[in-house]
């Protein structure tokens, strides 16, 4: 396969990481390998569709994820694949010039640019909790989204409101789909998302001129169609009833299933166990921590407490259905809590000294 590609395609493209990237994307998209040249062609067409990336209530973790993309890396993505016309974290322009660019892009590419939104949109008190250039996030979205070709809501915040929307949602934060109803909105959820899911979506869009198939929550099926639990390397332990009972115990050391210490894999849909992260073959479960369900709507409320087991999960080996009532925090024997609280800690060779005598 790789040989065929090398013959049919410019070796320059290979060096730039496109063949690898498009092969990975084709696999992620569930496309046949014969589609790879088509993806490469679309990715390098020199059309470079304009992209506007807006930031609202967010932590910039999704932008950092974009920075971490490889095959192709961001440099090639910017130089060859897309034209990133507005992105506040990387753009040279500031202030007035930045605003001008936004307006120009919208005007000159009306109906053609791809809008990517990072961050939730606060609606409480008329949106005063997030203002850019004197305008609320809500107004900016209402101005830009209708003129786009399609909207990608990137990450948990833009997709479903994210952490700021967690109870009691003090700023009234919502996701893009709650506001934009007259344009296709695709949710690439996750906190943050996996770069391959974004790349796959963009390549699909460039190659077929339409968005990939979505699930009922607006997520592309190619990335969110499979349950974490069904593709987890610890699944055999789950099936045999071998569980970590508490963090750091012998079972944890054996790499047993993390269900009882809170893993949300049984109710979470994402490609983490198969595509993994950062090209070093890792994901949360591989480093001994349960899945927290970050691709699911409102997971900050529906998946918490994160370290308690999910109720109503059937365990094959025993056939027991755990119900919510039996979920309880285990009392773990530790003496540390009995030790007095010291507000004074030494820092460096010197001392950061605590507040009052009462706390000393």
């Amino acid at each position: 396969m790789a040989d065929t590609l090398k013959k049919t395609l410019d070796p320059q493209l290979n060096r730039r990481g496109f063949i690898k990237g498009c092969t990975m994307a084709a696999a992620a998209l569930g496309l046949s390998e014969t589609m790879v040249p088509k993806l490469v062609e679309a990715a390098t067409s020199a059309q470079r569709p304009p992209v506007v990336w807006l930031h609202f209530q967010e932590c910039t973790g999704c932008t950092e994820t974009l920075l971490r993309a490889s095959h192709p890396d961001l440099a090639r993505l910017l130089l060859d694949v897309i034209s990133l016309d507005y992105h506040e974290t990387v753009m040279a322009a500031a202030g007035h010039q930045a605003e001008q660019l936004l307006h120009d892009t919208i005007k000159n590419h009306e109906g053609k640019f791809l809008l990517i939104v990072e961050g939730g949109i606060p609606l409480a008190e008329d949106g005063i909790y997030c203002k850019i250039a004197g305008k609320t996030a809500k107004d900016i979205l209402a101005e830009v989204a209708p003129k786009s070709a399609a909207v990608i809501a990137i990450g948990a915040c833009a997709a479903f409101g994210g952490i700021q929307a967690a109870k009691p949602n003090p700023t009234g934060a919502v996701g893009v789909r709650d506001l934009v109803t007259d344009k296709p909105v695709i949710n690439i959820s996750g906190c943050p998302f996996n770069p391959i899911s974004l790349l796959g979506t963009i390549l699909h869009y460039l190659t077929f001129n339409r968005l990939p198939e979505l699930d009922s929550l607006g997520r592309p099926l190619f990335a969110y169609g499979r349950r974490i639990h069904d593709h987890c390397e610890r699944r055999a332990h789950f099936d045999e009833g071998r569980f970590v009972e508490q963090f750091g115990d012998d079972f944890h050391k054996q790499g047993y299933c993390l269900y009882k210490v809170g893993c949300k894999g049984p109710e979470t849909f994402a490609n983490c166990p198969s595509v993994r992260f950062n090209n070093v073959d890792v994901w949360p479960v591989s480093v001994g921590h349960g899945c927290v369900g970050c691709t699911e709507p409102n997971f900050w409320d529906t998946m918490t407490p994160f370290y308690d087991r999910l109720p109503n999960v059937s365990i094959p080996a025993t056939g027991i259905v755990e119900d919510a009532d039996s979920v309880g925090r285990k009392v773990l024997g530790v003496t540390a809590a009995a030790i007095g609280i010291h507000a004074a800690v030494g820092v460096g060779k010197r001392l950061v000294k605590g507040k009052g005598k009462s706390e000393e």
Binding site: G61, L67, R68, T171, V287, L332, A337, I341, V352
Partner: protein, 539 residues
């Protein structure tokens, strides 16, 4: 003549920030820094489990990912009186170190370099002359094809789609580098973009992913099984490649920039510094730190004082929060009350933390000056070498350029130390102690984020989070005036700055960016016609 200009959004930062300055005869005479985003995380934390707070607080910032997680875990460990096993301490040091090694070069090349480097000018450079320049600055640097970079840039520009390079202040008289210098930095901008992808992998190896690692836990780390020979050597390979990058590209570039813009070693400085210190060196004494803590007042690095936490108060007189009582963070309140943008009254979502009533700069420069003043040997050596090479003195460090220098210096010092922590990791050793949350307790977790001193304060009530307050670096640096009306550090640092062209206030961006703001917003320049006695210009 007096005029006011507003930059909103300020771009190439994390978060949403607006900067307003008053300019008289081409010099900044007053300044206001306004955070325009509020997310309410403190409120959301109330009533949740103390052990899972770290997963939420990590989402404060995806740029300084991890660090808010570890502060939170430490605050609970402090409340419980726990100390963590050696492997956990070392993994945490490696994760924190990995963050610095990733984040500082990204700040230099991708967030701040475009304030100094004219990308368009790079098109007229001679690639051959650029190559000799690169060789003269750093003979051991990895070979870079400057001609190819120029071709890439040219086809980029010729396509008419400049992407992120559109709308810059290109051609501004404040850009004084030669075309070859500009091409060199442009090529390194792209090189560093690839390098940071690899740096992020150090985090992923022991953290499961980056950004937002998932291997922390109150009592230690969960990644015990990943502490294997192959993972350690994988980590070490990336680390060594990063060290080579730091020594042969990043540090020489910052040194060269300092030489090329000597004036900026005298502009944009501040005087008071606060560092909590970081990198625990001992399992028995959490106070033994690789980079020490300390307080510097009035630039006096010969007299470094202890940090007294009780001296920290957060003011809200000029912020959009209820009341005007300055409070110690443990008893802090975060009750939003937006009253409109008014520089004479309340104008920011940031609070104004003060130490002993004084505004304090936190961050790389604070850490480096405290360590230098206390004679930390690796820091002293790296600072002296830098100053020598850039033909500067220690007094020049209190400046915009000093911040860029301190960032590069500490990146080197930390990266050079990380190999020792890798060596000390013990395969198979325990990495976690078990915990149980008491009904009532309180604690704090201190830390150094890449952007500066960071503190989390937790009160546990009924086994749940009763109150949770955070004082973050950008609040120290970019917060508004305090109750007595004194400006915050960035506001003060802007005073006296010459601005050649108020339409293109690049000088202001240089200073603001030197603090590496992390507010999760951007700055745009807007109209402000509220003050009729000023001529207000939209920049």
């Amino acid at each position: 003549m007096s005029e006011r200009i507003v930059i909103d959004p300020v771009t190439r930062i994390e978060g949403h920030l607006k900067i307003e300055v008053e300019i008289n005869n081409g010099v900044v005479t007053d300044a206001w820094s306004s955070g325009t985003l509020f997310r309410g995380i403190e409120t959301i934390l109330k009533g949740r489990e103390p052990e899972e707070a770290w997963l939420l607080t990590q989402r404060l910032c995806g740029v300084c990912t991890y660090i808010h997680g570890v502060s939170s875990v430490r605050s609970v460990e402090n409340a419980l009186g726990l100390s963590v096993p050696q492997n956990a301490r070392l993994v945490r040091n490696l994760l924190t170190g990995g963050l610095y090694v990733h984040d500082h070069p990204v700040h230099f090349y991708h967030l701040s370099a475009l304030d100094w480097v004219d990308i368009v000018s790079a098109l007229s450079a001679s690639p051959a002359a650029t190559e000799s320049l690169a060789y003269s600055l750093s003979p051991n640097a990895p070979a870079i094809d400057f001609a190819a970079t120029q071709v890439d840039l040219r086809s980029f520009v010729d396509s008419g789609k400049l992407g992120p390079f559109a709308g810059g202040y290109w051609g501004h008289s404040a850009y004084t580098l030669s075309p070859e210098e500009n091409l060199l930095f442009a090529a390194h901008y792209l090189h560093a973009l690839r390098q940071q992808v690899k740096a992020g992998r150090m985090h992923a190896i022991f953290g499961g992913k980056n950004p937002h690692v998932q291997s922390l836990r109150v009592g230690g780390v969960t990644c015990k099984d990943e502490i294997t020979s192959s993972r350690i050597s994988q980590f070490r390979n990336i680390l060594n490649e990063m060290r080579h990058f730091i020594d042969t590209i990043y540090l020489p570039d910052v040194q060269h920039l300092a030489t090329a813009y000597p004036d900026w070693a005298g502009i944009g400085g501040f005087k008071n510094y606060l560092a909590f210190g970081e990198f625990q060196m001992s399992d028995s004494d959490p106070g033994e730190l690789f980079l020490p803590c300390g307080v510097i007042m009035n630039k006096n690095i010969d007299q470094i004082e202890d940090v007294m936490l009780g001296q920290i108060n957060e003011h809200v007189q000029h912020s959009w929060y209820e009341g005007n009582t300055a409070r110690y963070p443990q008893n802090g309140e975060t009750v939003p009350n937006y009253t409109g943008y008014d520089t004479a009254d309340r104008y920011s979502w940031l609070k104004a933390p003060r130490y002993n009533g004084q505004p304090m700069e936190v961050g790389p420069l604070a850490r480096v000056l405290v360590a230098y003043g206390l004679g930390q040997p690796q820091v002293v050596a790296a600072v002296d070498q830098f100053l020598n090479a850039a033909n500067l003195t220690i007094a020049d460090m209190h400046s915009t350029m000093g911040r860029a220098a301190a960032r590069a210096i500490e990146t080197k010092v930390i990266a050079d130390q990380m190999g020792a922590w890798l060596d000390q990791l013990k395969r198979g050793a325990t990495a976690m102690v078990s915990t149980s949350i008491p009904a009532t307790a309180s604690g704090f977790g201190l830390n150094e984020a890449p952007r500066g001193a960071l503190g989390h304060w937790i009160n546990i009530e009924g086994g749940k989070i009763g109150n949770y307050q955070m004082v973050v670096p950008s609040t120290w640096n970019l917060g508004p005036r305090c109750a007595s009306g004194d400006r915050g550090p960035v506001e003060e640092a802007l005073i006296g700055t010459p601005v050649v062209d108020a339409e293109k206030p690049i000088e202001i961006l240089r200073i603001v960016h030197s603090y590496d703001p992390c507010i999760a917003c951007a700055v745009h320049v807007t109209d402000n016609d509220r003050d009729s006695h000023y001529i207000v210009k939209a920049v």
